[in-house]
């Protein structure tokens, strides 16, 4: 976080840029959806004694300060999403 903006990073393995969606439900929260390129099972993660699977990440993140959701910019490189949110004065 700087005086001018909040920078949010999210590590997203198995995700491509087109699978990422960023929304701002309120001026102090940000919601990230990211679809994985394939279904991931618990077995893929080395868990053999429980069953489960998923194909999307989701997070609702509270911003420490109010941000301008209309001026959000994002970058997705090397599997990491970087979202820049200008702070509201």
């Amino acid at each position: 976080m700087t005086a001018a903006e909040v920078v949010l990073t999210v590590d997203l393995p198995y995700v491509e840029q087109k699978g990422v969606r960023v929304e701002c439900p309120t001026e102090d929260s940000i919601e990230v959806y990211a679809e994985t390129t394939r279904k991931i099972t618990f077995k893929d993660l080395g868990i053999k004694h429980r069953r489960g699977e998923f194909n999307c990440y989701h997070a609702l993140i509270q911003m420490p300060v109010p941000v301008n959701e209309r001026k959000v910019s994002k970058k997705f490189k090397r599997g990491v999403l970087e979202v820049h949110l200008p702070r509201l004065k």
Binding site: D11, P13, R78, V80
Partner: protein, 253 residues
């Protein structure tokens, strides 16, 4: 540390098979970007090193790791081909780091270790824009630079917080040649690419031929599977003020 503990107390290095003398030791402990743990684990599986011991302590978190259906200590020692690798699958609590460093170096001295190589990460803000993470090296003594074989750039000034810092200094005191490799990486995301860059440096320093391509191929899987370990490591790094490493370098030498 409580007053009634000696410098290495609470920690014992248990060898289940004899560990050879004059070996090179690689440390892969949970650190920035999990670089060391990822690289060391890859070395162990690629070179098919045998499990030869563990570092036990009543002061470590009360937990075991189950691997292949068998109960294992979280901090384990592997060996083969004149190489010894120490990995930890739990975060070593900051209160235990000093005794840990003391006992590991005392053991290394006893074993006449010829080189101790610790693998760590160096967080960079623009990691996403770096195609080839650079490797830096902190040395226990100037003379150790020849053992580096140009594999990394020497770190002249800075701070090293945590086990690797104490290990380096204790090795210097015990005259055990030691190199701490710090590879540019993410701070709190597992970074298999950085681990691959560290591995390239390790290959050069120790004349190994461990293939890093599998680390890169399995990159996304490793990032996902290591995320909980990274999260716990990150919490402990915060507790020991790891961010001190990113302060401006010290004023006086």
């Amino acid at each position: 540390m409580p007053a009634d503990l000696s410098p290495t107390d609470g920690l014992r290095i248990v060898e289940t098979e004899p560990v050879p003398k004059k070996a090179s030791v690689i440390n892969g402990l949970p650190d920035v970007g999990l670089v060391g743990l990822l690289a060391a684990s890859h070395i162990i599986s690629s070179m098919k090193l045998r499990e030869v011991g563990a570092i036990e302590s009543d002061l470590l978190p009360p937990m075991i790791v189950v691997h292949g259906g068998l109960p294992k200590a979280p901090v384990r020692i592997f060996s083969g081909n004149g190489l010894v690798v120490v990995i930890s699958e739990t975060v070593i609590p900051s209160s235990l780091i000093r005794p840990f460093a003391n006992s590991l170096v005392a053991w290394a001295s006893d074993k006449s270790v010829r080189l101790m190589l610790s693998l760590g990460g160096m967080a960079v803000a623009n990691r996403q824009d770096i195609d080839s993470p650079k490797v830096f090296a902190a040395l226990s003594a100037k003379a150790v630079e020849t053992q580096l074989k140009g594999a990394a750039e020497v770190l002249e000034e800075g701070y090293i917080v945590g086990a690797y810092g104490l290990l380096l200094r204790k090795c210097a005191e015990a005259s055990i040649p030691s190199i701490t490799l710090l590879t540019q990486s993410h701070y709190n995301y597992p970074d298999p690419e950085a681990a691959a860059a560290a591995l390239t440096a390790v290959n050069r320093i120790l004349d190994l031929k461990v293939d890093a391509s599998d680390l890169l191929k399995r990159g996304e899987e490793l990032r996902l599977r290591s995320k909980d370990m990274m999260h716990r490591t990150h919490e402990e790094m915060n507790r020991m003020n790891k961010s001190h490493e990113y302060d401006l370098p010290p004023l006086y030498g």
